[in-house]
């Protein structure tokens, strides 16, 4: 009887695709349903003001950050795992006019209100995979894959090089690769990184392993140098001295 129960349970799990574990906090489930309407907004990182993103346009890096809002039920499943924030918009009731307006009070009579939701979560602490010197002035930082909030992609990484304490900001070229430029030759550096999205900045990473940049190779100009001109002048001197000597003999 016990075996039968176990077998039935296994079959049920396999056939019914019942999840055996819920998503852990750092790995949010990405809403993939095409039916869920999304609204992309740009959040000002300084003032936290929101503006609706026009079709095809981009947020301005460093000052604004992309945030994705959903009005589907999927986000409700995650309310227990992440803090959820809501946004009210007004839009024309006619289906042809779909321009949304953020509202502060109530919508007009000819408009309908929509509630949008998104998860609030700053990026997790970045972890270093490796650091290497590509040349005398450039280093490559490779980070371990970061768990992202699907509603707020990472806007930029803030990399601080030590001991110079020079701060650079930028998007990684690939999701985990960041090129640090402007380093000095023959110098040992360590780095700390933090990631920023619309919801805030991640905690600062631990210090990376040390990286030592190589020396800049000496580049020799292939044109005539001082010795060439000295040679030319010596030859000219000898030439005219010889001619003068010869004419003196005549």
């Amino acid at each position: 009887m016990r075996r039968l129960m176990v077998s039935l349970f296994v079959i049920t799990v396999l056939a019914g695709n019942i999840p055996l574990a819920i998503a852990i906090e750092d790995e949010p489930v990405v809403a993939t349903s095409a039916e869920i309407q999304t609204l992309k907004t740009c959040t000002s990182l300084d003032s936290k003001k929101i503006r609706i993103l026009r079709e095809g346009s981009k947020c301005h890096l460093y000052t604004e950050s992309l945030a994705i809002w959903r009005n589907g039920p999927t986000s409700e499943d995650l309310t227990s795992k992440f803090p959820v924030t809501t946004l009210q918009t007004c839009t024309g009731k006619s289906p042809s006019i779909r321009s949304y307006i953020l509202i502060r009070d109530n919508c007009q009579k000819f408009q309908e209100a929509t509630s949008w939701h998104r998860w609030l979560k700053s990026p997790s602490t970045p972890e270093f995979e490796s650091v290497e010197a590509l040349n005398e002035t450039t280093g490559l930082i490779t980070l371990k894959p970061m768990t992202e909030n699907p509603d707020a992609p990472i806007t930029f990484l803030t990399v601080t090089s030590h001991p110079d304490e020079v701060v650079t900001r930028g998007l990684p070229t690939e999701i985990t690769k960041y090129y640090v430029t402007g380093l000095s030759q023959k110098k040992t550096y360590t780095f700390t990184v933090s990631a920023t999205n619309a919801d805030g900045e991640s905690p600062l990473s631990l210090e990376s392993k040390a990286l030592t940049t190589p020396a800049i190779p000496e580049v020799i100009p292939a044109g005539p140098g001082l010795l060439s001109f000295i040679t030319a002048f010596v030859l000219l001197f000898l030439f005219f001295a010889y001619r003068r000597f010869n004419s003196a003999l005549d």
């Binding site: 060439s228 040679t231 030859l235």
Partner: protein, 174 residues
């Protein structure tokens, strides 16, 4: 001193012409360095690499105007192309008796010949350098020799020096 030079120049029209032409060399030379000549430097780099490839010397191109050979990095500067000396010599080769078109034709041929000689010098220099000859002997001294021969040719072309054999009586040996 300056007055005596002026007086000498006013009396001697040939000296005046020589002085004018020589004085124009430096401004033309420095004017050439006001431009980067990237295309010419790129071509020169290309031809040096290809020429050395014919001699089975492997030069590694690093950028349009730089390459490495034997662990050393070289930059083809404006002076490597000889364009500065070529334009600087403009005032020395200019012939007032020729029409501008004829002079342009002459200058074109003259430039090509100079460029070919300069490239051969560079190719052989890097070939020698790659085969263990020091940079000074492989490049610097031949470069000085090249400038010397060029300058003497310019003086000969202008008729300011001649290479006629001495026909006068030889001094008695004592």
């Amino acid at each position: 001193m300056l007055d005596s030079v002026k007086e000498w120049l006013s009396k001697n029209s040939k000296a005046q012409e020589i002085a004018t032409r020589l004085l124009l060399v430096a401004p033309l030379f420095f004017l050439t360095h006001a431009f980067s000549w990237n295309l010419l430097r790129d071509w020169t780099t290309n031809l040096i690499i290809q020429g050395n490839a014919l001699l089975e010397t492997h030069l590694v191109r690093l950028s349009p105007t730089s390459f490495s050979v034997g662990g050393h990095f070289f930059q083809v500067a404006v002076a490597c192309t000889s364009i500065d000396a070529l334009i600087g010599s403009l005032s020395l080769v200019y012939d007032r008796r020729k029409s501008l078109l004829k002079f342009f034709g002459f200058f074109l041929v003259y430039s090509v010949i100079i460029q070919v000689i300069n490239l051969l010098r560079l190719i052989l220099g890097f070939f020698a350098f790659d085969h263990g000859v020091s940079w000074k002997i492989a490049h610097e001294i031949p470069s000085g020799g090249f400038l010397f021969i060029w300058f003497i040719w310019l003086l000969w072309y202008r008729g300011w020096v001649s290479f006629r054999l001495h026909t006068g009586k030889r001094r008695k040996e004592i």
